[in-house]
Amino acid sequence: MKKNLKVLICDDSILIRKKLRSVLEKCKIEEIFEAENGAIAVEQAKELNPDLIFMDIVMPDKDGIEALKEIKTFNTDVKIVMASSAGTSDHLKEALSNGAYDFIQKPVSFESVTLLIEKILKEESANV
């Protein structure tokens, strides 16, 4: 069973990155990386090959939907969870049709992230 997920947090907010990191650390995730916009996330995704990405939508330089589309062209396996306050039906449709794994409406709760991680770990272990 695969125990250690490699996770990339992409959000332009320092606060959100800090909070997500703290929740992930409580979930015993050891490899956590951060990107402050979509363009950096694409680079990081190439370099680090993460298992899971938390992706904000509204960001400078490159928004989360654009980053999602690009990352999916070279890494089809990565699970990309959109985490945004703007969960409008347009955003949801666009994210899911471009291969997003899930969508979390902000503010991100401790429980929603914990449940998601548990679900992913279960899937990973079933796939091995």
Binding site: S13, S85, S89
Partner: protein, 306 residues
């Protein structure tokens, strides 16, 4: 808002005197709600356990939550939940009444349960009552304006007040400011809503109130205007605008928004609508315009995108 309401319930039930209520409502402005009060209020700990943790705190430099977890009285999840409950204003009143010796924590908890029972309220309805007051409040402040303007900004402001109550401070009170220029409030945080109903949205705020709002939203005490403090207020605006977009989307209007920007000592001018948001620890301005292309933002120090 709610503490005034609940305070009068305690008064009518003869649980406190008018003088004690007035004194506590005044005193609660300076109160910092202690973890122990909330832990008992939530039914996570007994008063004896709280006392034991307080005793340990006198001996070691650790937070209440840390010690309570070490002693096995609270789980990490309960600590998280208590941090978010620290914002509820009935707890400010509880702390004030306890600190002033007018009621014990147990008596307050019992009275709160009685209140919910008397009014047949579930926790969700309890929240709704507090939010319900906001719509009335916003309608009231916009009554002097023509219907078109009131309808345009009413939805946004009502939601803003609810999000203030939900995430920051339920002592919030809104007033319309009669001016077309925003005086520099040290910081301007702006975000453009784009689409068929575009909107310029901004918060003009001074150092002290910024630190207050940022500390509550970030759930940690921030004492310096650093990147995290500015980001916290900026993220609150982003969260609120995101929820506004979701509401508009549910009503059939799809909108989008741009990343927020932070300006130092900025002046905003143009066809704008300004509302003063009073919190229990200071005021700030919400600046709106449904004609964003008409709005000019000037800042001596330039822009910083967050």
């Amino acid at each position: 808002m709610f503490s005034q309401y609940f305070g009068h319930y305690l008064l009518n039930r003869g649980l406190i005197t008018r003088e004690q209520l007035a004194d506590s409502l005044e005193f609660q402005k300076t109160v910092h709600v202690k973890f122990g009060v909330i832990a008992v209020d939530e039914g996570f700990m007994t008063t004896a356990q709280v006392e034991e943790v307080h005793e340990k705190q006198r001996q070691m430099d650790k937070r209440f939550g840390e010690i309570a977890v070490e002693l096995g009285y609270l789980t990490e999840e309960q600590v998280e939940s208590l941090i978010s409950h620290q914002k509820q204003s009935h707890l400010y009143l509880a702390q004030a009444l306890v600190d002033r010796g007018y009621m014990t924590i147990d008596e307050f908890g019992a009275a709160l349960n009685e209140y919910k029972k008397d009014n047949s309220l579930s926790d969700e309805q309890f929240e709704a009552i507090r939010n319900g007051n906001v719509d009335t409040l916003v309608e009231k402040i916009l009554v002097a304006y023509d219907e078109e303007k009131a309808a345009k900004y009413g939805k946004y402001l009502s939601l803003f007040a609810k999000n203030m109550i939900r995430f920051i401070d339920d002592q919030v009170y809104l007033e319309v400011s009669e001016t077309n220029n925003v005086t520099p409030g040290n910081w301007l945080i702006k975000q453009d809503v784009v689409g068929t109903s575009p909107l310029f949205t901004g918060i003009s705020i001074n150092d002290e109130t910024l630190l207050y709002v940022a500390s509550i939203y970030a759930e940690e005490e921030l004492t310096e205007i650093d990147a995290l403090a500015k980001d916290a207020v900026s993220e609150f605006l982003n969260l609120h605008n995101g929820i506004y977009l979701v509401n508009m989307s549910n009503w059939g209007t799809e909108l989008d928004m741009k990343p927020q920007q932070v300006f130092e000592s900025a002046t905003v001018s143009g066809d704008l609508f300004q509302v003063t948001v009073n919190t229990s620890k200071g005021a700030f301005q919400v600046v709106l315009s449904d004609n964003p292309s008409n709005i000019a933002v000037e800042s001596a120090t330039g822009t910083q995108t967050v």
